[in-house]
């Protein structure tokens, strides 16, 4: 039995404790905003927060997330859009949008640790998040736009 807190709600899970958090969120809790892209922490589509820090949920066993507080895209902007989401919309960032939950979760984590990143720091922090549509220059712009507004 694993106890886990997701988006402020306590849950217990009596399934395979090795199940990656990604599939627990998606298949068991029905929180499908977090995406499956590679299963090997290579693409970042599955990015969520554990105690405010971006992690790849596809390689994080549920058991390893047991003591932390997990936050997913569904909990971002529930009380009005997050400034990064606003910047994403203003900058017309998404194309297909599939990777963007992960991109936004990664960007929130970046600005938390570095509120005014340089272009190079943005690239370093976001290099783990693939966007096959190729929205990178808009992602960079949106992060800078949000940073200027002092997220």
């Amino acid at each position: 039995m694993v106890k886990i807190n997701v988006n402020g709600v306590d849950h217990t899970f009596d399934g395979d404790p090795n199940m990656p958090l990604l599939w627990y969120l998606r298949d068991i809790l029905g929180l499908t905003g977090t995406k499956f892209g590679c299963g090997m922490a290579l693409c970042g589509a599955c990015t969520v927060h554990n105690n405010g820090v971006a992690i790849r949920s596809c390689i994080t066993p549920v058991s390893a997330a047991a003591n932390g507080k997990i936050r997913t895209i569904e909990d971002i902007g529930v009380n009005g859009l997050h400034p990064l989401q606003q910047a994403w919309i203003e900058g017309n960032v998404p194309q297909c949008g599939y990777c963007q939950s992960g991109q936004i979760m990664q960007a929130i984590s970046l600005l938390k640790s570095n509120p005014h990143p340089t272009d190079q720091q943005i690239d370093e922090a976001m290099a783990g998040n693939i966007c096959r549509c190729g929205t990178y220059q808009r992602i960079r712009q949106a992060i800078k736009m949000a940073a200027e507004k002092n997220v």
């Binding site: 599939w23 998606r26 299963g39 859009l81 919309i89 017309n92 599939y98 370093e124 693939i130 929205t135």
Partner: protein, 756 residues
């Protein structure tokens, strides 16, 4: 069930639109406007045997429903085409709700590929919107007892100018439903100056959902009582199961059972590949169970496929005379008689490429009472109906294909083998089944963009300009998935930047040699233009440098004076477009080249060691594009792309901001092709598996800034999703040469041996 209802649309329109609502079906053939009146159009449309294509419905509260019948994979077509209709309707976009169509032939073509959604449906949806507006005006005129000619519209409202009276579209919905549908000749389309949205554009209808995790993709579809399936496919194309030991798989917690899927009967087309499915409570359990399967395979004849050997064969074939697809003058005689010192030869190569959309293949299907309902991220819902019909032996109309949002497509999701798998399994199991491919499945079992070998030979004059030009390509054709014996390029794909090589030269020979496919070949964003554009535009750059001339000026010299290319005696399908409407005009290619030269500041940007500029120009999907790429390469061979400039003439552009985004994305897509895109095979088995060994461009590797310049044009609209890729690929490689003196003839860079 609540989640599925978000993507289930079949009953949606019918339920929302009561009998009092104005519902209008547009027909694929616009002439149908002269046919029997469409009243209460939903019913009429359901009965129609000639394919209606778009619906617009207006509710008494003014809410306007516009059906998107094309698939949304990131190009915002689900927004842009309804936007065109809304413009002619003079509708208030904020009151428009978009409804995604199911697969149904009444919409006409629904295969969202080939960058043709706007071009093929622009006129049709305009007529549909204009027709609805006409009926609303008639209804208002009747109520006011004034001539309709005294009435006009103003954003969701009919206005009688003389008296100042106004009636909203919603208030008119019931009475407009009783008006006869106008004949096409009665329609008054807006003049371009009156357009509210066309040419100005809006952002994606789904934008906020895409930023909040609320957008529904195929991966997110759920049904009560569904099980999850993960399928072990034959590792070699065409392989079969010899024996299966599933004992250990069945011990995995959550695994229910395993199910064998029959191998396809050649040709493969869109049939399931066959294999063993592990059925489980959740995706993870299905994946884990699959790892425990022990399967003996009968690999079949493709077991001998080795991509390194195959490359040599392609190149050998490319060196030999082959089938001539277009000829000008007598290139072969001219080449034989030219002195060796004036002869230039080069060989180019592009490997198999995988699509790798961010959302792997996935589909949910429920077989019940002889009918199948699926929810799938598909570019091609009618092909879903067709393949499931044939796999299950049920009529096509008993296959309901709900189209979800697509997490990328790039052509892969036009081939619905994965959807058929879900349907086959659901029938076998008697319950809803969701098939989820891993990334490894996606990379190993793709319909790859063809591997291509190309041979070029030119004889040049004293100024370095070709007097004779030979180009020969060899690639396994896409048609091989439909006819396993196909070995030559088919006219539609040869027409992609090969048959239509545009240079004004006295002697040209354009040839194509044979190649047998050992994997499934398929369409990938810009398709054959990828290798054809790369070969032609890089060989041009080679000749420019040999002649010590400016590559841009040399390119313009070869394109020649503005003229319309004559394909009267050549098979040239022109992307399925009428040649009179969409002729190949070299003046437009010149213009975008001039424009990108100007905007990029080409004249002042001289290449130096480690810092180079390259240019290329290419027409594809009826759109003319020229691109300048700037690269920096350090001593370690690390490459940066600080800037890309790209100019395009796509005729009339409906949504400029979305178009810019498509060309920005195309540069990133092209970056992946040049840097690292390569699928290889040994003993018939694909060697790559995931983003570690099939890398795609990341933020730090992609162009830092892509500037897009759209030519203001009133020519008929052309494609914007794909045409950015080919000239970028060539310009990038030409920039690398300018920076290093190293010519990239074999893609990708990662295995070219040129750097590090």
């Amino acid at each position: 069930m609540s989640q599925i209802e978000n993507v289930s649309r079949r009953g949606f329109l019918k339920g929302i639109l009561g009998t009092s609502a104005l519902v209008l079906g547009a027909r694929y053939v616009p002439a149908i406007f002269s046919a029997a009146p469409l009243r209460n159009g939903m019913t009429d449309a359901d009965r129609a045997t000639f394919h209606p294509n778009v619906f617009v419905g207006i509710q008494p509260d003014g809410t306007t429903y516009i059906v998107a019948h094309r698939s949304e994979m990131g190009t915002a077509i689900r927004t842009s085409l309804p936007l065109v209709l809304a413009d002619e309707l003079d509708a208030d976009w904020t009151r428009v709700k978009i409804d995604q169509a199911i697969g149904d032939p009444r919409y006409g073509d629904q295969n969202t590929d080939g960058s043709h959604s706007i071009r093929s449906f622009f006129d049709i949806v305009r007529e549909c919107g204009a027709s609805a507006r006409w009926m609303l005006i008639q209804a208002a005129a009747q109520q006011w007892n004034v001539p309709a000619s005294e009435c006009s519209t103003e954003l969701h409202t009919v206005v009688h100018t003389k008296s100042g009276r106004k009636l909203s579209y919603g208030a008119l919905a019931s009475s407009a439903a009783k008006i006869e549908v106008p004949k096409k000749e009665q329609l008054q389309l807006k003049k371009p100056a009156q357009w509210r949205y066309i040419g100005k554009g809006v952002t994606s209808y789904d934008l906020e959902k895409l930023c909040t995790g609320k957008a529904m993709y195929g991966m997110d579809a759920r049904l009560d009582g569904m099980v999850y399936a993960s399928i072990e496919h034959p590792p070699v194309f065409g392989g079969k199961i010899k024996s299966v030991d599933d004992q250990d798989a069945l011990k995995v917690t959550g695994v229910h059972q395993t199910v064998s899927i029959d191998p396809f009967k050649p040709p493969a087309a869109f049939q399931p590949l066959g294999g063993v499915a592990v059925i489980a409570d959740n995706t993870w359990a299905a994946f884990q169970g699959r790892k425990k399967l022990k399967i003996n395979w009968e690999n079949g004849p493709n077991e001998s496929y080795d991509s390194a050997e195959y490359k040599k064969e392609l190149q050998d074939t490319a060196r030999k005379p082959a089938k001539v697809v277009r000829s000008v003058g007598d290139a072969n005689s001219a080449l034989v008689s030219a002195p060796a010192s004036n002869m230039v030869e080069a060989e180019y190569y592009v490997p198999l490429l995988a699509h790798a959309p961010m959302e792997p293949m996935v589909a949910l299907a429920e077989f019940k009472d002889g009918k199948v309902t699926v929810w799938a991220p598909t570019q091609n819902p009618q092909a879903v109906q067709a393949i499931i019909s044939s796999e299950l032996g049920i009529p096509k109309e008993n296959v309901i294909c709900n189209v979800t949002l697509l997490g990328g497509g790039f052509g892969r999701k036009s081939k619905p083998d994965y959807v058929a798998e879900a349907a086959v399994l659901s029938k076998k199991l008697g319950r809803p089944v969701k098939v989820v491919w891993t990334r490894e499945d996606d990379v190993k079992f793709d319909y790859y963009n063809a591997v291509a070998g190309m041979y070029f030979k030119a004889a040049v004059d004293a100024q370095g300009k070709p007097t004779a030009w030979l180009q020969r390509s060899v690639f396994p054709p896409i048609t091989s998935i439909f006819d396993a014996s196909a070995i030559y390029g088919d006219p539609p794909h040869l027409a992609q930047g090969w048959t239509d090589m545009p240079y004004d030269l006295p002697n040209i020979s354009i040839e194509n040699g044979p190649a047998k496919a050992h994997v499934r070949i398929g369409w990938l964003r810009s398709v054959a233009n990828i290798y054809h554009g790369f070969g032609v535009q890089c060989f041009t750059d080679e000749l420019a440098h040999r002649a010590q001339r400016d590559p841009a000026e040399y390119l313009l010299d070869l394109i020649g004076q503005p003229r319309t290319l004559d394909f009267a005696h050549v098979e040239y399908p022109n992307y399925g477009a009428d040649y009179k409407t969409y002729p190949w005009e070299t003046g437009r290619l010149r213009h975008v080249t001039d424009l990108v030269v100007e905007k990029s500041g080409w004249a002042n940007k001289k290449s130096t060691k480690g810092h180079g500029f390259g240019i290329a120009a290419h027409r594809s999907f009826l759109t003319y594009v020229a691109t300048v790429v700037e690269v920096e390469i350090n001593d370690q061979g690390e490459i940066r792309i600080p800037r890309v400039d790209t100019a395009l003439d796509a005729g009339l552009v409906v949504n400029p901001e979305i178009t810019r985004a498509q060309f920005e994305g195309a540069a990133v897509f092209g970056t992946s092709i040049v840097r690292s895109g390569e699928i290889t095979a040994k003993n018939g088995v694909i060697q790559q598996s995931n983003f570690n060994d099939y890398p795609v461009a990341r933020i730090n590797e992609a162009p830092q800034q892509t500037n897009v310049y759209i030519v203001d044009s009133s020519a008929p609209p052309a494609g914007v999703g794909e045409p950015g890729v080919p000239p970028f690929v060539a310009a990038f490689c030409n920039a690398i040469f300018a920076a290093t003196g190293k010519r990239v003839r074999n893609l990708p860079l990662s295995s070219s041996g040129l750097f590090g």
